[in-house]
Symmetry: C2
Subunit: 247 residues, 2 copies
């Protein structure tokens, strides 16, 4: 069984990835400085021996990350942003490469506690109604079944909306897919935790309603640390299993 551990993860490096790496290499090595024009796509695909689609895909991907900027009928240039962001961009940024569940949960706690604090500060009456509706949906679903992950997250998302911080909300959305994939694998979802989760949600809502910033923060922290503790009780084996299967 442990013979499996002797196998190394095979990195499937698509043509696009290879091109991206080469371009990044050129930038990090200083051969391409911000403002410089990239060789035209045709020259690139000829030099690299691949189709132009691949080159275009690579450029488009780097454009997403704000590293390149393509000017139609003019060329592709390295965006202003210097090597700074590139430095840590060893692998794809957004496909977060969540190798460690700890970082993920830790970050979630940071985002959500602050969202709760801001929500307690900025929430409107409409926000309260939205949060309550989400909580109600969660309660009903939970009464019927044990599986209410979507409704759970919706509750948290409504709080993020009430924070009136669009960026914070966007970042929560960014990590949500990873949270979900990890939870779907890890969370047994039929444990004793479920009962207390509802009460904790209600406590959070109460503090937000009362505009009690500190209270909302602590309630959210307690809620999430419960989840964190629960995750930590899982076997390491289970955790390892949850990796590696992505893409």
């Amino acid at each position: 069984m442990e013979l499996l551990n002797n196998f190394k993860q095979i990195v499937i490096e698509t043509p696009v990835d290879k091109i991206i790496n080469q371009i990044k290499e050129l930038i990090t090595s200083g051969q391409l400085k911000p403002g410089d024009k990239l060789p035209p796509e045709r020259k690139l695909c000829e030099a690299l021996g691949v189709g132009r689609s691949h080159v275009r895909d690579a450029i488009k991907k780097l454009e997403f990350y704000g590293i390149l900027k393509t000017l139609p009928q003019s060329g592709t240039v390295v965006a202003g942003l210097g090597m700074t962001a590139l430095e840590g961009l060893i692998t794809d940024v957004l496909r977060l490469e969540v190798k460690d569940f700890r970082s993920l949960v830790e970050t979630r706690v940071i985002l959500e506690t602050n969202a709760a604090a801001l929500a307690a500060q900025n929430r409107t009456e409409e926000d309260l109604a939205g949060i309550e509706a989400a909580l109600l949906a969660y309660k009903n679903k939970k009464a019927a079944s044990v599986y209410a992950v979507d409704e759970d997250l919706m509750f948290h998302l409504k709080i993020a909306e009430a924070s009136k911080n669009s960026v914070l909300k966007s970042l929560m959305l960014v990590i949500t897919p990873d949270i979900l994939t990890n939870y779907n694998e890890l969370d047994a979802c039929g444990d004793g935790r479920s009962v207390s989760a509802l009460e904790e949600h209600e406590l959070i809502l109460f503090h937000i309603k009362e505009k009690n910033i500190e209270g909302a923060t602590q309630a959210m922290r307690a809620h999430l640390s419960d989840i964190l503790d629960f995750s930590n009780t899982l076997q390491v084996e289970d955790f390892n299993r949850s990796n590696g299967k992505k893409r």
Copy 2:
């Protein structure tokens, strides 16, 4: 002059954007549920009356966001992630649509203060060396010129690395481009702030070195709130000017 204000920003909606919106509409309206297969690309581009490249680009973009998943030679399906995340996904998530600079800076403060705290807790000797090197580079550049944004951000990035939280670091990288574009427009960069920034950096480093979690947090918060205060002194007119010109 104020006649210009009567013009509405023209939204250049590329074919790709239109397709994305249609697909998102299908998902949010429930006509496409997670796990469902999308119509094949050929049918789609026929129904939409556009080239297949556009459809493929749209799919690829949505795949970035984790909304779709294309299985080669099999089809494209809606990823597991329920409507939950879609709910708030009115516009592109990652091109953060930073309409409000406040949210951006606010979020940056949240991320960075926590990164500083974690760095004070987890930093190794190598991390310290890296942070010091970045600080030195910043100092040198600053002595030579007033423009050292890259080196400044590198210092912050090294701290994020020292936090040993990969997700947190990734999220900082995500918002960094937006920070830069906004700063490049807003920051006069030749003001009195520059002198104190260096001292503040040194103070942060000191606390991280001493493993003083609370101290590092406060030092970082003070550092960033200075920047925030400075930004707030800018004219609203300048702020508005900084919007709308992106892409």
